[in-house]
Amino acid sequence: MADALCGPSNALQSFQKHSQADRSLQQDRLIGSSQPPAQGFRTFDPRVGSLDAEFHAFENAPTNPFQLEQPAWRHGAPPRQMAPSALSWASDFQNLRVSESPAPVSQFRTEAPLVRNAPGGWQQEFMRQRESPTALGKQKQPEISSFAMSQQSFLPFTASASLVPQQNGIYQQDTMSQQLNATKPQLHEADFERAFQDAFDQMDSMDAQLKAADEMTEEGHDPLMEESLIQEPSQMKIGSDAIEYTEVQDRTIDQDARDANALARVAGELVQNVDHETNEKFKNSQFLDLMRRIRDREVEVRNNDLENTHLQTDATEKQLEHSDLRPHDPNTFQFPDMNNVYRPDETIDTAADDSFVYQPAEPRTQISDLHPGGPLYPEQSPPQPRHAQMSGAVNTSVSADDTILEAHEPQGFEAWTFPAKSISQDLVGETFQDADTAKWVPWPEAHTGMVDIADIWNHDADVDVDTKPAARKRLPSDAEAGDCWRAAVYASANGERTHEEGTLKEVEDKKKAKFGDEEQGDYQGHEHVQS
């Protein structure tokens, strides 16, 4: 074909290619129907006549579709001057009676060729076009492309979709006839004049477009073919095309949250859509069950996987039951039930236990061990050596015990109480080897040699420090070691003796022997004082 030849292409060449295209398969049908449509078996096809006309128009067409009709129209010559047999739509136009009542609805369709055959169809089609100027605007592209007498329906699908609600196989005729009834009284000659003027203007602008297109052709393009075939359905995107795509790398946390919301919403819509379904299979579908759970946010997508969220749906439901959801009336004031305002009893404790959320352990530091009560308790860190020096109060004759007591006892020491059993609470459930019987016994019963610091702080317990290393099979944690140490410190600070009669120094030595020298650096202050 022409394309295979070398050399520059021009408009004529491309048109030649267009007209010489092998259409034998289509034409054999057309040739068969060029006889009067009353004969032959194809007469039942309503399109035969119109295709005939289209074919003739195509055959006689000069370079563009509008030059075909424009000379007569634009220079004021009435269309009547054209040979009546030339174009069937032209004869339709001649037969057009403006004031005629619309043809029965069943006689015309939205398909352009059929409309042309139906008396009065063109007129209504035209009125409908005028009805929706937006549709007219969108119409431009397909009209240009109708050169090839392509198989476009007169109304492009975008326009028809705007009239017809989605997903309903509604007969468009219904809407059309309604529109016609509504507009019928407004049919005026002047209206038509204006309409024709609009149409001419539009044609002029299209002429200009085509001229520009011809220039494009010089560069080797074939705009007519292109537009008739690659008609961009860009006006409306449906389904997957409407989904915007985000690169994985460009994702933000915010977007993840939005996606999670969107997923839950879509899942909800999906579940709702199949809600009417009575089929057992749909009721038992695992997928739909999953969708329900996604909708309820019981399952979320994390790290490319589905994960159960730890939503305590029971708890929230209980809350909802108890909370009063009635709107508050500003004119009434009810005294709160004072019994409910503050009730420090054990029920709260159990509630607190229920709502316990496991928090992974932070790496422990020496400082945090020294502040078991957290920031609410005053500073208890060991005294800095220079503190004592600066005060000038270092007195080597003073016993080590007294110094420690002085240094360690903050103001108002007597007023504090240590949170009861806080440490021993932590150990509940653990078993220890009893120092005496060498049996494994749960914590409170075990005689491990450890002492609860709370007892010492509250001055209400026997201090019984058993430092036999053999008694402890379990490696002590820093905290436990600290507890033990502090127990010993305060025991001796209070002038009490361990049952081994150990002085502070001895206890410390034992501690070092037991736990190594790790803590030595932190307690240099004591040693300094002692030396």
Binding site: M1, D3, A4, L25, Q26, R29, F44, D45, P46, R47, S106, R109, T110, E111, Q151, S153, F157, S160, A161, V164, P165, Q166, Q167, N168, G169, I170, Y171, Q172, Q173, H221, D222, P223, M225, E226, L229, I230, Q231, E232, P233, S234, M236, K237, I238, G239, S240, D241, Y245, N279, K281, F282, N284, S285, Q286, F287
Partner: protein, 286 residues
């Protein structure tokens, strides 16, 4: 033999040049060629050009040297298994769920897209402005009707998910998709569908013409059924009808195909219930 993959696989096609080769279309946009006679779990070739999910792959049934793939990125690509780069890219500008080579004409292939259009390319035509595209039929257009008195319904455009070429009647295609209707087209009469087969309750995911009979069609749908249809065999007087309904799947049925070598009428279907059902179509035809 199992070949683990990182992403979901949307389609698989047997090679027509090598009995052991198998092609997959993957969620990351890549196409992978496996040799089932080899033990390693790696593909023997990977073709990575699509930027989004590759939804379909189809081996050329006539010249056998090439295969085609389609993707969400709006392209259909033609490949040769021996070349890393694609031979040809045919843009559709729309998410393309399905592409198929014509079983009759060498170099002719088709695709259906989310924009509700059926496109046909003929690679023998010169690659001028229209990029081999010879036909673009709006699937939702009004049906080609024999009766003048009947009202013509119009349909809103809806996503097309699957299509197939008839194995006997040259130029006849069937398409189906989200609007639950299976339509047959003759590319020589591109005005509109010839037949509308309605009955599925939800979107139709896969259709396939019988390799044994010219009018028989199988479909798998999101209504969890597979159905057997006849389109009348091109005879306008014969009605198009649903012949049978296979409802064994307990989740969405997403794939169905005929058995080429067993008994006439055997079929296999798969679905989201993680099962493959092998069944005799005739057993479900009352």
């Amino acid at each position: 033999m199992a070949y683990p993959t990182q992403d979901a696989l949307y389609d698989v096609a047997h090679s027509e040049v090598h009995s052991n080769h198998l092609l997959t279309a993957s969620g990351d946009g890549s196409l992978r060629l496996y040799d089932v006679s080899l033990t390693p779990e790696f593909p023997i070739a990977t073709f990575q050009e699509h930027s989004r999910e590759a939804f379909a792959c189809s081996w050329n049934l006539t010249s056998k040297a090439t295969f085609a793939s389609s993707s969400w990125d709006g392209n259909v690509k033609i490949w040769n298994p021996e070349r890393q780069q694609s031979l040809l890219t045919l843009p559709t500008h729309s998410c393309t769920y399905s592409t198929q080579w014509s079983p009759h004409t060498d170099g002719m292939l088709s695709a259906v897209c989310s924009d509700s259009h059926l496109r046909v390319w003929d690679l023998r035509t010169p690659a001028s402005a229209n990029n081999h595209l010879i036909l673009q039929i709006p699937i939702h257009s009004a049906p080609f009707s024999v009766s003048n008195a009947m009202l013509q319904p119009t349909f809103p455009p809806s996503e097309a998910l699957t299509h197939d070429w008839n194995k006997y009647r040259q130029g006849v295609l069937a398409t189906a998709g989200v609007d639950r209707i299976i339509r047959t087209f003759d590319i020589r009469q591109p005005k509109g569908p010839l037949q509308l087969l309605q009955g599925h309750g939800y979107a139709v995911r896969k259709i396939t013409w019988s390799p044994h009979l010219p009018d028989l069609l199988l479909s798998a749908s999101y209504d969890m059924t597979c159905r057997v249809w006849t389109d009348g065999g091109g005879d306008q007087r014969k009605p198009a009808a649903e012949l049978g309904n296979m409802g064994r799947h307990t989740e969405f049925a997403t794939g169905v195909d005929w058995c080429l070598f067993g008994n006439e009428g055997w079929a296999a279907s798969c679905g989201w219930d993680e099962r493959v059902c092998v069944w005799d179509v005739r057993a479900f035809m009352p």
